[in-house]
Subunit: 430 residues, 2 copies
């Protein structure tokens, strides 16, 4: 495409809009994430001599075009919602305005870099709602889709309100608090369960979370009481016990009783084992004495909805509003704004999808702002704790029914009259 | 765990087994992939000075343990099925035998590196069966879970029998044939659809696939006829047309008629647009005149089953068979072999999960063989076309009912009497 545009002399400025056409089933809202990676990508975009040489070897591209690619840098503008903003169907997460070829070449990367973080942050935010204040640990690296996905999932889950990750590299690179426990293989390797617990407690006296379900969970709880006493005698506290299989509601109650009767009432119970937000909600509603959850595969793969219908559409080129009419895929023309109306209590009462040049109504925020101009960042990326705080505030400001895990209410997004008029005008011109 | 084992003096040799506990719904078989990445990881495994410094800064690990990590290399043995082998529940894809800490430290990486390639190859193989010989292109990079996943999906889909990818870097690095077409934005940018087609044909006279559904598919088909004539006049052939939305069965018939009536009966029709193997099967069964499919998101995310219950379990340590009894998670003890019985027609008639030291029955193949000893590769990785050829032969050798897309028959995997006896002995010892 780029070669054809280059040869045809198409150098006009174009605007592309990145948005989700419809929310997955059961999702009342999405949480935008991934912008930092997109901006880093745009800053770094260039064709290396090796890449150019390989493209030349295909025999498909002429010299002038390859020279153009060699000098190509991203020189455009990016307007975007900050990471951690709640977003709904048809609302742009970002818009890129740049010379057509630049804006078009980055399509796959831009979608890819926003898709996964937004997918996982949105899934993880549901777990945070389900846990009602109980801490959550992200445990999913082993079954995330590759290593890059594992790093991005740890970051996205933390933005959404998870408290820690078991991904040590994410701790090192992103500063996310780490949490970890032992595996069944660790217990099995010792053969003697109590000895395996004691060895772990000796090495990690202040971070010892014992895994109880390798053989018999309740029997292991009695051994945990023993280890808790031994730790207490040396001035330490057992940091927790973990259940990873079986009927977690019933077992957590039995284990709580054993711990309490053994004087270890201060020891929290952590559960894990293929759980998702619905399992968390069910256990919390049942009043199971569970203090924290470890969530992995089903969060890191967004198991019930492993993709978003995220698209990057040309909406204006050379000053002309662009319309696409493909069946079921019509989208709104032109650069856009999202105006969010905030009630007197700080809650969000509805959004308005508008043309970018419309005035912001009184009492509304506008969600997209310029973050890159002329290919240069306008300001440093926000620190991750700031993004996490924004996400928490945004989710808290949603109407209660929009936050529901099942059958969420639909958040109101109206289309501005100006945008409707421009859409009609573009359609009339075809 | 490693620190606790180190401090407790646990240096015994351990064997871990990597297998899927149960197949996802609708999957009759899996296609093993990802071994090359695991072996490369094991060869490269080391803690860098920077990593050691950071671990030391956590204040959780003592000097002797950090020194041990600094000198740690993978020194063990790997027995594995070759990539492209069909595999079933409970059958090890690989087994690692190494000093306990080494074998345990690599758990997350080993699962992660096998999980995605096996997941995607297994999903893609179903699409290949559904297409009954029609070429498939992998189009999913934009919504794969990150960039690493996009690279791995292109490779896995090609192993499974896809014919090409739109992922240019996968073409460069893995030698996978590339295919690409234009996007709707390309057509929109020109405004005039015919001009956009002509510009593309001028630049790619021998690889021109025209996207027909930006405005009106049938009207665009007439323009494609025009471009085909213009190309033919210059000695080229229009390489194809693509439909990406709407009723693909009906539209493909209308477009075929327009092409045929316009003398472009040689131009193939490619369809795409959120399809999976069931859509492909339906369109093929309906007799829609579709020559090739572009499959993306639903293959690259394995949308109906985005994870496998892939686990890495300790099965022997210090010569002792290891048993784990967690509810619903019991697994077979000891290093294992998979014996596959081949009928006189070359078809697979059933497998036997056996102890690794059992003799291979007459007429059976044994599927795991040593690929690494003492941390060194025993032979170069097989070339990708070899892996792809193996996958095709393996899938073809399956009983027909096991290959069914919906409600597949269960492939017979029996447990050897020796393995059953060892399991009983291990249970009796607890």
């Amino acid at each position: 495409m780029a070669a054809a545009c280059f040869r045809a002399g198409l150098r006009a400025t174009a605007t592309f809009s990145l948005f989700v056409r419809r929310l997955p089933p059961e999702r009342g809202f999405l949480l935008a994430a991934g912008l930092e990676d997109v901006l880093q990508y745009l800053l770094a975009l260039r064709f290396t001599p090796g890449a150019l040489e390989w493209l030349a070897s295909l025999g498909r591209f002429d010299g002038p075009f390859l020279d153009y690619l060699g000098s190509l840098r991203f020189t455009g503008q990016v307007r975007a919602m900050p990471e951690g903003t709640v977003v709904f169907a048809e609302e742009p997460l970002l818009e890129i305005t740049a010379p057509l070829i630049e804006a078009q070449l980055v399509e796959t990367a831009v979608i890819n870099l926003i898709h996964l973080p937004t997918l996982i942050a949105s899934k993880a935010a549901r777990s945070v709602l389900a846990a009602r204040g109980r801490p959550l640990a992200e445990f999913g690296l082993r079954r995330s889709h590759g290593t890059d996905a594992g790093m991005k999932a740890a970051r996205a889950a933390w933005i959404a309100g998870f408290d820690s990750t078991s991904n040590v590299l994410a701790g090192k690179l992103e500063g996310i608090p780490l949490s970890g426990t032992m595996a069944h293989s660790y217990v099995s390797a010792f053969g003697d369960e109590l000895e395996s617990f004691r060895a772990y407690a000796r090495t990690h006296p202040d971070a010892c979370v014992l895994l109880l379900d390798t053989y018999d969970t309740v029997a292991a709880a009695h051994k945990a009481v023993q280890v808790a006493r031994e730790l207490a005698a040396r001035g330490h506290r057992l940091a927790g016990v973990r259940l990873d299989s079986g009927d977690l509601d019933q077992l957590s109650r039995e284990v709580r009783r054993v711990l309490d009767e053994g004087g270890a009432e201060y020891v929290p119970i952590v559960v894990s084992g293929g759980l998702d937000e619905h399992d968390v909600a069910r256990l919390v509603s049942a009043g199971a004495p569970i203090d924290a959850f470890g969530l992995g595969t089903r969060i890191d793969t967004s198991a019930d909805a492993p993709s978003l219908d995220l698209v990057y559409k040309l909406v204006r080129v050379d000053g002309r509003d662009v319309l696409k009419l493909s069946t079921g895929k019509e989208s709104w023309v032109g650069p856009k704004a999202v105006h969010r109306v905030v009630g007197t209590d700080g809650g969000f009462t509805g959004d308005r999808l508008a043309a970018a040049d419309e005035p912001v109504p009184h009492g509304a925020m506008t969600l997209l702002s310029p973050v890159m101009e002329g290919g240069e960042l306008l300001r440093p990326h926000p620190a991750l704790p700031e993004v996490r705080a924004r996400a928490a505030a945004e989710v808290a400001a949603l109407p209660e029914e929009v936050r529901r895990l099942s059958g969420p209410g639909e958040y109101r997004v109206e289309i501005s009259p100006v945008l409707r008029a421009r859409q009609a005008a573009a359609r009339a011109k075809r």
